[in-house]
Symmetry: C2
Subunit: 527 residues, 2 copies
């Protein structure tokens, strides 16, 4: 099916009256057709109404039908073949090999959620049987299951045009929970968005799902997104992007007559702490690992190690020298958009000109205007206390190495850091006493704690947390990656003395879905 440049409303291409734009090849600045026809803010309700109409039927689907749908989406995305990868490559400048891996991750997480839906533990079924003989009053029969919240608005990320965009983690987990989804297409990769949107629409049709279970809307500026978040049919929001963008959606959602949850994954500098023992050997592998993580994907990861804390002294100096050497041969890759590249330029110029900051390593610029050289700066811990702006995220391959003298003082500093997605310690056994003292501090500041690794690379699995205290996310109680994410889009409902014939399947005595249930507070074995 060719690209139409139109929104997809409940399976049907839909032109809008909200203006138009054309995608841009970030390597050349040249246009990538077709022209994209945008909805006006007052046309968004077409998608949300379709989602609301689809909700009763979609939430009532059996685990097996819903799981089949998720798997059908994965199949339809794979069936797009090279066309999808080539379009995503043209729109994002991300290497084809990376996009191939990202497609695998996208389809893998859809299939993981299919498995979660079939297994059913997320329904959190609890049964407290009636106690008719209890004195002074009998206890009624009580049964809990979780229900989906309702239609969800999803705002994808520029840096994951597949795995965190149209059919990305938020869409997969919301659909798995039983929520229809309306995606606001990312304007940095509209063609990729439409191709994936068409794949989801095809999957919905062949799986017999109500068409309104999925829509994709194009819009200019921020008004269409605001219209989506304030639409009364929308019951939750998933967002991955900038802090300003996320906070605007949080404020819009809080200002509704009926406030709704917003899961915004916003910004993080992902502190890495190198302890003395980790510097005892050859500094080169550690430095190479750091530079590789820092420059991966042009540094355009929310888990990019933007801050590295390094001991003062000769071992730290040797590590820095090795970083300088490794960074010198690192070549900039084309960034996702000219705007992101411009912000990188502003951020690195600000740091480079800061009186307390030295530029210690510089790589090579890439082959076009949007491929700036990776850069590493250094400063001292005391300077951070004087200027909190030093630790602001610079999206891209820019690192700040902070030298510290004393681990206790470092711990004090870390305790005051903003919330983070990740925190990493490099340590050997000789450092364990110091690491043990840092751990409780990092637990309060980050959603994931790593040892002797690098934060880029987020496993899509059951024990992943991609989240963290504000402002890393707007809601630290959840994750946006991994199977636990399904719980974000649910609420519990209790059934008291509901007649057996009227009970919904998950809480029926005959347990037709084969769920593991909590009876009087204790989990049953799986039937």
């Amino acid at each position: 099916m060719p690209l139409t440049g139109q929104s997809i409303i409940a399976g049907v291409a839909h032109p809008g009256t909200g203006g138009s734009f054309t995608a841009v090849d970030p390597r050349t600045g040249g246009p990538l057709g077709p022209e994209i026809s945008c909805l006006a803010p007052d046309e968004v309700h077409l998608a949300t109404r379709a989602a609301a109409e689809a909700f009763p039927a979609y939430r009532a689907t059996s685990p097996s039908d819903r799981a089949d749908f998720l798997e059908a989406i994965a199949e339809e995305i794979e069936a797009l073949g090279d066309e999808l990868l080539e379009r995503a490559h043209a729109e994002s400048a991300l290497p084809l090999a990376r996009l191939q891996g990202e497609r695998g991750r996208t389809c893998g997480q859809l299939r993981m959620f299919a498995g979660v839906v079939r297994q059913g533990d997320h329904l959190g079924v609890r049964i407290d049987p009636a106690l008719p003989e209890r004195a002074p009053l009998p206890r009624p029969d009580l049964r809990v299951r979780h229900l989906p919240l309702g239609p969800v608005a999803v705002f994808g990320a520029s840096n994951f045009p597949l795995a965190f965009s149209t059919a990305g983690g938020d869409t997969a987990s919301a659909l798995a929970a039983g929520c229809p989804v309306v995606v606001k297409a990312h304007n940095a990769h509209p063609g990729t968005g439409e191709l994936v949107g068409q794949a989801i629409a095809r999957a919905a049709e062949r799986s017999g799902m109500p068409a309104g279970v999925f829509s994709l809307v194009f819009g200019l500026g921020t008004e269409v997104g605001a219209a989506l978040v304030t639409d009364p049919h929308i019951q939750a929001v998933g967002f991955t992007g900038s802090r300003a963008g996320g906070l605007a959606l949080v404020a819009a959602a809080a200002g509704r007559p009926q406030p709704i949850p917003v899961y915004a994954e916003m910004s993080s500098t992902n502190p890495v702490i190198v302890l003395e023992g980790a510097l005892a050997g050859d500094p080169e592998p550690l430095a190479a690992g750091y530079v590789a993580s820092l420059t991966l994907g042009s540094g355009q990861f929310c888990t990019n190690p933007g801050l590295l804390f390094l001991p003062e002294g000769p071992a730290g100096d040797a590590f820095l020298a090795a970083v300088e050497q490794a960074a010198a041969s690192a070549t900039g890759q084309t960034m996702l958009t000219p705007q992101i590249r411009a912000a990188f330029g502003t951020g690195t110029a600000r740091l480079g000109a800061h009186p307390s900051v030295q530029t210690i390593a510089q790589g090579l610029a890439g082959g076009d205007d949007n491929a700036p050289a990776p850069v590493v700066f250094t400063t001292r811990l005391a300077a951070l206390a004087d200027d909190h702006g030093l630790t602001e995220e610079i999206f891209g391959a820019a690192g700040l190495v902070v030298r510290f003298g004393d681990v206790a003082r470092l711990a004090d500093h870390l305790a005051g850091l903003e919330g983070q997605l990740t925190a990493t310690i490099h340590a050997t056994e000789a450092d364990h006493a110091e690491a043990a003292a840092l751990l409780p501090v990092l637990e309060t500041r980050a959603g994931r704690i790593l040892f002797n690794g690098w934060p880029t690379g987020v496993e899509v699995t059951h024990a992943m947390v991609h989240g963290g205290p504000f402002p890393a996310t707007s809601d630290s109680r959840t994750t946006s990656v991994g199977s636990l994410a399904i719980e974000r889009f649910q609420r519990p409902v209790c059934y008291q003395d509901v007649p057996a014939g009227l009970l919904p399947a998950p809480v029926r005595d005959d347990n037709p879905w084969g769920l593991r249930r909590r009876i009087d507070g204790e989990l049953e074995p799986r039937p």
Copy 2:
């Protein structure tokens, strides 16, 4: 220990500079000493700082030590003996027998949470073991556990001076999760609050808990509460009370530099739907049940059945006649405060004067100025569509019976109702087709659905949901009653490749706490 009328900051009585007030006996309007010394808003930080200082040690307590502490609180409350009941009776006018039951519930829920803490399922441990041989990249070792959010501010309810106040459900679940608690004492029962606060402080001391794990602060007006919610140490808020009060706290929390979750349980009219079959027999038991639930505790329950939908026609008329008779002999009990009684008067006067509303039943006033007569109004479904104000909650023993002709039209109306704590259907088997059609509508509108019972009376157990869509609560994803409430005060943290010797106990391979863990997505049997 005698009442001091002072705040309890980390175990120590603390006078304030924020003015003073004296408790009032709602039956007489007379004062109940001692004078209560209030903190000024800028003194609240004494309590929150103590809570923040206690947090690292308190959250590190073992399940057994923390459970012992919760049980010690129950014991210390019981050790207060009749003094507590008499003070609560004097301050609230609630009957002694009711307060005795409420004390049992209060201590029962503390002990239930002790059991939850010992069992440990709330920690949600997940382990995805490393896959060093996986291609193209090895999988790291990933482990998740849940951590407490941090210090919690609790605002208790006037209508449950024990079970939903100082040591009530929010305090018990937050302490169980590992969060220190700062309670803003309710000014309708300050002496009761201080007695219970002293009991908690004694329990903390004898259990070896850090003193800052609990504080109780007195304050005038709304400024002290606002100071608490906007204090940077506070990481979550529990509230039970009016919609205006809850929404003010939600707004204050959202306006913080770091927004925090607010769990506000606010208002609900708890619709009861009577279907034809339920009217087929003798109407008297049903009418008696309704009037008993409506007038229980002077109607001062968040689950009071304020709205009852009744079929038009002779069977409904007969039910109404039976209601009139049952209500005629119902005597008003003293309400909690003169303010609540005044609001009841305003609300019932407004309904009584409404051109579409008839007063159909009136009980007897009680023996003092604060004990108004229960009252039942009636109107037609069409009138509700014209004036949404008709369905506003009137806190107290006032019911509105809404006559409907057609269940399909009723379903449309219910779909547009505000979020509710409960929804109830009275039906016999002959009504099941109609009930089945109503159920999905009610599921989207309420947190608990009952059949052939009355919503007052909330079991404190594992399968209870006392929550619901906005504005019943500010966060439909949780419950404020029952063991599931512990999850409100937690966030997940992931440990990636953390050395065995540094892992926290819940995620260690040797599983020292005997937890049930989810390995690669599947729950293990309990060890």
